[in-house]
Symmetry: D2
Subunit: 345 residues, 4 copies
């Protein structure tokens, strides 16, 4: 990576951002004396209570997002099961095979135009249910928001959940950007999770202003029965848990999660609007969360990357991805769009 990042904020990824000041404050405030390690502390007790996503919800904190996904999926599967997901899913392409390694399951990826899978596409994967020669589909895993910046509506999730439950399958959500999705849909977290029929959720913190820490949320207690062992064996039981809990407390209290996500989403909208005014740039995906997918003519890309770091998503068609975050400013966008305009001229 030889790109020079001249500006203090880039559009590379929402995890290139730092930590929201209020979360940093909460961390500092939690640094007070001794508490019992591994989660038996008042910070954790308070944070868990704030996950008001419905009755009988069980929540477990872990270090990071890949761990959250892998362990949540492990709780739902035996090794002869299959996990259905979009071809573009983080669990399929960005976790170095961690789901297969840790669960033993096969992933069955579905090609999509926008990162969203539809029940109709799943049906052909169910032809071999009951035959021992074949892996048995057990989980439908979707990303909300998707890796393509799109968002499932609650109704779309409900349809998938119903499809799953009617076939003894479960609906798993990789919610690394669940906050951006809920903010984009302008619904409560509960509406896009519990009420939509989701069974297991990875609730992301790091992409929404936290330093580290994710939550695995079970909407069916029986799935969580042995999860404390799965988490520990899965190497994701933090000793100084309070510092994750304090972050979640800050994020969930007073809807900081929503403010952060909303801001990032609005910046993405603004970026898309401004870039849309430049005729050389076209868009490949709807902007429904905090990502903008655009085709930028190949010759301009390295010139832009001299000042702003961002990823080329699809080299063949020169599709690039711009991500905004809780700390993206209007000035950042003005500056960047100004730069684009200058370069394309």
């Amino acid at each position: 990576m030889t790109n020079r990042v001249k500006r203090s904020r880039s559009f590379a990824s929402d995890n290139n951002a730092g930590v929201h000041p209020k979360i940093m404050e909460a961390i500092a405030a939690a640094n007070d004396g001794h508490v019992i390690a591994y989660g038996d502390d008042p910070y954790t007790a308070r944070a868990l209570k704030l996950f008001r996503l419905g009755k009988d919800v069980e929540v477990f904190f872990v270090f990071g997002g890949t761990g959250a996904n892998v362990l949540g999926l492990k709780a739902a599967t035996a090794s002869h099961h299959a996990i259905i997901c979009a071809q573009t899913a983080h669990i399929n392409v960005d976790e170095c095979g961690a789901p297969e390694k840790f669960t033993g399951c096969k992933l069955l990826p579905i090609t999509t135009a926008d990162g969203k899978i539809k029940a109709e596409q799943i049906k052909p994967l169910l032809h071999e249910v009951g035959f021992e020669h074949h892996v048995q589909p057990r989980v439908i895993s979707v990303s909300q928001a998707t890796e393509m910046g799109t968002v499932y509506t609650p109704r779309e999730l409900q349809t998938l959940a119903k499809f799953a439950h009617e076939r003894n399958m479960l609906l798993h959500v990789d919610g690394a950007r669940i906050a951006n999705a809920a903010a984009g849909l302008n619904v409560k977290l509960k509406e896009t999770t519990r009420d939509a029929g989701v069974d297991i959720l990875s609730f992301g913190g790091a992409k929404n202003g936290m330093m580290y820490g994710e939550a695995v949320v079970f909407f069916d207690k029986t799935l969580a029965k042995d999860f404390k062992y799965t988490r520990k064996q899965g190497t994701h039981l933090p000793s100084k848990m309070r510092f994750i809990s304090a972050q979640f407390e800050a994020l969930l209290a007073n809807d900081l999660w929503r403010q952060n996500a909303q801001h990032a989403n609005q910046m993405a909208q603004r970026l898309a609007i401004e870039l849309g005014k430049i005729p050389q740039i076209t868009f490949t995906q709807k902007v429904e969360a905090n990502g903008v997918f655009a085709i930028v003519p190949k010759k301009y890309v390295p010139l832009l990357q001299k000042s702003y770091f961002f990823y080329v998503w699809n080299e063949e068609i020169s599709e690039v991805r711009f991500m905004t975050s809780f700390d993206t400013t209007e000035a950042d966008i003005a500056d960047f769009v100004g730069l684009v305009k200058k370069i394309v001229k």
Copy 2:
């Protein structure tokens, strides 16, 4: 856990402590703008350089200690290998089977009096080398300091390393308390690791004043060849890596690691000396790091635990463990010892 922890600091565990102020400052200072995620940032570059443990050393940061152990062992083994360790080793009893799950290896535990294994004890485990029906010993894993508060001398480590290397085996060190060991021995980190023939080290941060983060240190580059994949697949590649790196930078610069460890060790010494004046209390282990193992008559234990949380290590003989940490004060010890004296009267 119904114990009331009345005091702000207990002797339960060094990971019940919080974060050292200088480390907290370093975290706050790192929260400045955007940097590339996953370790391609200047904080990480600087922190890695501070691991001055010899030429050709490769260092990787991970979230936590169980992850560090499991992934370091994975780098050294194939699934038909065996890992030799003390019966009391953290990898054997406190990681919920994570080493077996992730490496596929069998652990071959050795019973010890003081948590330290000797080469002589390993020999009988090597009878079946070369026979396909049996797992093949590949790694000797020791804890430094041990879970019993004892410390291997550099010479003891050298003997084990030589024994291992002569038999195509490797020496792995679970260094959750490597700082306490080096401080206790009054040697440089290098003397108790690289110079002692160690091949792979889990370098612990959390028990020595960090918030989270451990390092897997390879003293043989070939063992590290694929470790970046092992770490990612092992769910231990932190996205906002800079916040671990900044902590390590603070810990390793100006020998903060040694000051913290030395202080904790001294507090353990003082605690042992003071408790040693109470005839009802006897000791089961030498105090060589920051742990004190003592037999406290059963009837006193719950009374003490009303004010100070600590663990009973061996219920049969009423052996308890007191751990000190970087923030233990002389006043804490005076208060606690005073309480013991009051109770045993």
Copy 3:
């Protein structure tokens, strides 16, 4: 499965056939007194010598084909690797996820028209080589003959092998029907394996007249270094090994393997020629080994299955699969074709 199989031989699968008489004789002859278990016996020594596939070849017998594939792949991979194969590959669809479970690897399937993958199709899967977020392609696995009844020419294999080796990858062959392939190509076994650049081969016995037993053949000794442990840990070290060895001895001596395969192939050719005279029947694949893939109008299928058991391959287009075996007779074909003619009238 409620189909009545009226005829003593069906076209369902080559593993529905029994054991060739000469192999049965060899088994009986091996039942003579005691020999050392697990392969340290003269039958095994002789059988291994008959695998004259080149210098430095290492051969290991196992119980069955899925075991052979999975363990051969394990020998070539670490868990962060990926295995590239055709979508239709047995390892991808017919082994209930055994490769993922045992190796931890991800399979990267390629859609093909005829079960054969081409180097060009592999290139897009190599975009992420060197990036830790992504599994690293390490093995190209092909089936020879393919599950679609087609066969790679030696030149096609050479091209794949060269492509693989230039990229630090290996070529694995699932040779459940390697005999049919070599017979169909009219080449020596060596020409379609060693000389074609194959690194690891599952050499199938059961589909060519053996009762049970497969061989994992390594053309690179270094890959076989730890395989005796992998086989034992993989639960595939037969105690009474001599009875597998005696079968391989009978199969490989005097080219029984080729006679059996050639006969099965000829029967497939004859079946295709005869069915080709019936205008209602069309073919979806070339007949290059012992399988015939044909579209049979849906209404005829159940009528035919009353007398002959065979599998519907693709329900949507009413594609069926007919497999011939070493014991298929011209009379079987005449009888079956007569039945088809009667029914379609």
Copy 4:
């Protein structure tokens, strides 16, 4: 292994013997035309019916004994569980770590004098039940007969089963020599399995006159629910299943299993009686099945091994193991004992 085996039958192992003639006949008789592969055949249907071990029993055939053990244990466990067994258990020392690799579980071995574990010895292993840092004991696995030639009485098994069931654990039996145990106890198979509270049994064939093939027997149907997938993914679904089934049919019909086992046991008794007359030889275990464990002065061992192959069990004390089998003759014993007498003179 350079030992010369001069005699046609040795005392090395019951799996050095060949196949019982009646079983060989049954194999030959099953070689008749085509049947559906993978167990959907009349031979398998008949063989399964012969496992008359009680209501609701589920039986699955696999290739071999290590596979039977590993897959049976997999059906009973999640990866955070522990399996308690004797230190000498085949699953602990003779399967190259296959249980750990395939189940992910830790094995907790218990030191015994005679290969038999007692409930009292298990209690200390249960101290950490419910704590997430520690593996959770789930299965007690015993070998019947044990690897030391001893046998659990039905009452001893009942005690272990009761102990297990009261603690939400299961009793698994490695019955590689279950026939020898039942014959030695002079009880029905059912009495030493179902009636004794066993939950899962590996029913051994190869050590009792079969060529290959073992059965995994579930006495609780719910444990077997997904086992067909576990078997296939575990690479132990034989394609030409009928040849295993025909062997089991021959073994179980007319109590051939008992005749074979009884004969082997009687030969062991006779061997022990005759060797017992030689003062230089002493015994380390009771002879309750088909194994004789004796101390033979070191200098005699190589002299004996020139003519008869057998294993030294414990080199330190010059303990050797003699195994008898279904085909051991009185003449073999007379010849061997004569040799011993000659040598010790």
